[in-house]
Symmetry: C2
Subunit: 452 residues, 2 copies
């Protein structure tokens, strides 16, 4: 039989065990952070009924869908009835609408699953990737305090992830929308187009944005562009920014949406302090707009200070109505998403996700095959105390067994030869330092249960 070349599908990330362990620890840290803040887990199927999934998407997204079809359906030439989820927001909307009667609101859910996009294959872009999402969904209304809780979660999470210094930038879309309205940019589509250009400020700079606003289809007046860039130019300490915005909002005839946005920004800042999120880790950034059109209030992006080129590693915002395509209930919400596969890729490329210790804590070596039963008993004792233990069940020279443990990232090896057996001791070798220690056999499990 001819051999088939084994290969992972293009655009997917597949890791060796030691990298998988690093990735898994990041997933665990994120989950722990979500649970610490009282978010509840849900999981949804990898595919959705195609018509249900695609009820609201359009444009770019629609071109990137993966459709799913069983053998039978394919043979009969049917149109595929299922499609892989492309984010966790549409499945959340479907879930909340479907189970509305059984859920308690505000509904705080976390969801950590893979999503699928048929993107053009290129380095660092994935067709399958993890999203780690939290959202709080209210019924009819959702207090602004939830908008301040989100950065508190981000702060806890990214501190625990140990990816270096980071800063949460946030804004309120009402501030931009109100400004645009006050400048006479009346059509919503036109305001969205302006928003999308503004969103590129951090990438292309003020002059770049000015050019985009005045050129192309927008063709804004130079004066209008200047007014917009004046707002975007407000940077610095939150209180200074709020003061300058407050002055603008206090002017006679100020746009009410603008005034509302400034008030919300101020409230979020006050609550953030009450949530004890250190001011070193957040800023108001009036240039954050988020391209997606469903955000209506607070919007967030998060940057690793030492890796600005990475872009935002955790983004989201407030929206007015989660599931208008499925239910008449008004379901406002606020949430964020972390694209962990890409974050892991970029950290790895930057050398910031090195393979660490194995999940295995101890290797019980097989010094003398005649003592195998003793080694099994040692391992059973260790496991009984919750110590992750591997037994070298294949006979091999002891040096080779040490080398195996070292390469696998296992920190400790336990050795017991006939002499040690007779003396009632075991030797524990720390493979990171090479140090050896003789320990009474009866104390071994306790020794490691402590080290853990």
């Amino acid at each position: 039989m001819a051999l088939i070349t084994p290969c992972t599908p293009p655009g997917t990330m597949e890791l060796l065990p030691r990298q998988q362990i690093v990735f898994q620890r990041m997933l665990d840290t994120i989950r722990r952070g979500f649970e610490l803040y009282g978010f509840l887990p849900i999981e949804t199927p990898v595919f959705e009924v195609a018509d249900v999934l695609l009820s609201k998407s359009g444009g770019e997204t629609e071109k990137q869908i993966y459709f799913v079809q069983s053998t039978g359906g394919l043979e009969q030439g049917h149109k595929p009835g299922l499609a892989l989820r492309f984010d966790l927001t549409v499945p959340l909307a479907r879930y909340v609408a479907e189970h509305e009667a059984e859920l308690a609101f505000p509904f705080r859910r976390y969801q950590i699953q893979r999503v699928y996009r048929g993107e053009r294959s290129q380095r660092g872009r994935y067709r399958e990737f993890y999203q780690c999402d939290i959202d709080v969904i209210g019924k009819d209304a959702l207090p602004l305090a939830f908008d301040a809780e989100i950065p508190a979660v981000i702060h806890t999470l990214f501190s625990e992830l140990q990816v270096g210094p980071f800063r949460i930038h946030f804004n309120n879309r009402k501030v931009l929308q109100g400004l645009f309205e006050s400048l006479g940019i009346d059509q919503p589509e036109r305001r969205m187009a302006v928003l999308r250009q503004v969103d590129r400020l951090d990438k292309i700079g003020a002059d770049g944005v000015r050019g985009l606003l005045m050129g192309g289809e927008l063709a804004l007046d130079g004066e209008l562009a200047d007014r917009i860039l004046e707002l975007l130019g407000i940077r610095g300490a939150a209180d200074d920014t709020l003061e300058r915005l407050g002055a603008m909002a206090g002017r006679e005839g100020a746009n009410p949406v603008f005034v509302q946005g400034v008030r919300e920004l101020g409230e979020v800042v006050a609550l953030l302090r009450a949530f004890q999120v250190p001011e070193s880790h957040w800023s108001i950034n009036l240039g954050i707009a988020r391209g997606l059109d469903y955000y209506t209030g607070t919007v967030y992006e998060t940057f690793l200070t030492e890796h600005p080129g990475m872009g935002s590693v955790c983004s989201g915002g407030r929206y007015d109505n989660l599931a208008s395509q499925y239910t008449k209930s008004r379901l406002p919400g606020v949430g964020i998403s972390i694209g962990l596969t890409r974050l892991f890729y970029v950290l790895s490329e930057a050398g910031l996700a090195p393979a660490g210790a194995s999940t295995v804590q101890v290797l019980v070596t097989q010094f003398d095959p005649a003592l195998l039963r003793e080694y099994l008993a040692l391992a059973a004792e260790l496991r009984g105390r919750g110590v992750n233990t591997e037994i070298h069940l294949e006979p091999a020279k002891i040096a080779r067994q040490f080398k195996y443990a070292d390469r696998a990232g296992i920190p400790f090896a336990v050795v017991m030869g006939p002499d040690e057996m007779a003396e009632g001791v075991v030797t524990v070798k720390d493979l990171r330092t090479g140090a050896q220690e003789r320990i009474p056999r009866g104390d071994l499990a306790g020794h490691f249960a402590k080290v853990r």
Copy 2:
């Protein structure tokens, strides 16, 4: 806009948060058990290149594949190039063959992911379900000690899962194969057909199997059928079974494969005792055959004693060569799989997976909206000590807040009104018992960090 009815695709399991928490705890327990025994995590993409995935399957499986195709491919009328995995074994074979040079052997991996089968939709059968697999893959050879380690893992795991009494049944395919050879059933296909009938012993009884062996295409002689049923009739304590098998193996002219199988069974029994797996939890069961044709030695099934109708909840075995379709290396292995979605479904139906406590440990109530900042500070203290804490950020009557926590399965509520604030205390209410306790505010975080 007309509303679209939100619905999960048929044949998938979607849980409400409190059930999801129970399910997640089972997943965590299984993972912890796998790691305790030194298995390393891997994950593979949900889809594989279709030609790579289907290189070895056939028959029933091939009819149940889900094919995947991007929008572009669909529009251009291409044949789908991807397919969803239908188990974790084929992806493991592909993974090991692809990364062979980078892996250390014996390669001990665990993998907990969902798999997909386009089965006819019916109650309790799922098209998307979790498999939790471990396998140890050797290069060229793999000592028999690994066959004894597998039941040790199952024993630890099912004890921790707390699903009631269970028993691991195991056998060695060589015993059956050797017997069939010695009875002159020479063609491998015919032996497999006999094996599949034998495998139904526990379901249809000895007479049923006898009928199947003598009827249909097999049409075995009555004497041959009796010889087979005589072997299957050997039940009871392991040592008795081994003694009777030993006597058969000791006869002059005994089939060498049979002799080898009996020797392996005996070794596994001896090692199982060395692994300290209590004899109350395992038996030799010569009727366990496992229908799949890749098993070549030890085979396992696990039954919940009080729910025999559930069938095996954890099965697997030893195979000679994992990845012959991808590599010339000989990769023998041994492994097991738990179909968790079905297990969870059956346990739920039997009332054995009740919704337990929430992941949220404490609800900080909002007794007085004017004190919101104090509540945020309380929650920050609790979270800082690792206590999963939700804040009732929506103002509501306190009775309603208690009711919310109770319904959500949150065990404790913290209340602080203006009086308590003035006294420097908080009230902790245990929602399971209704008991209340006043605690100095400074001791609160320590109090819960202890309770956890």
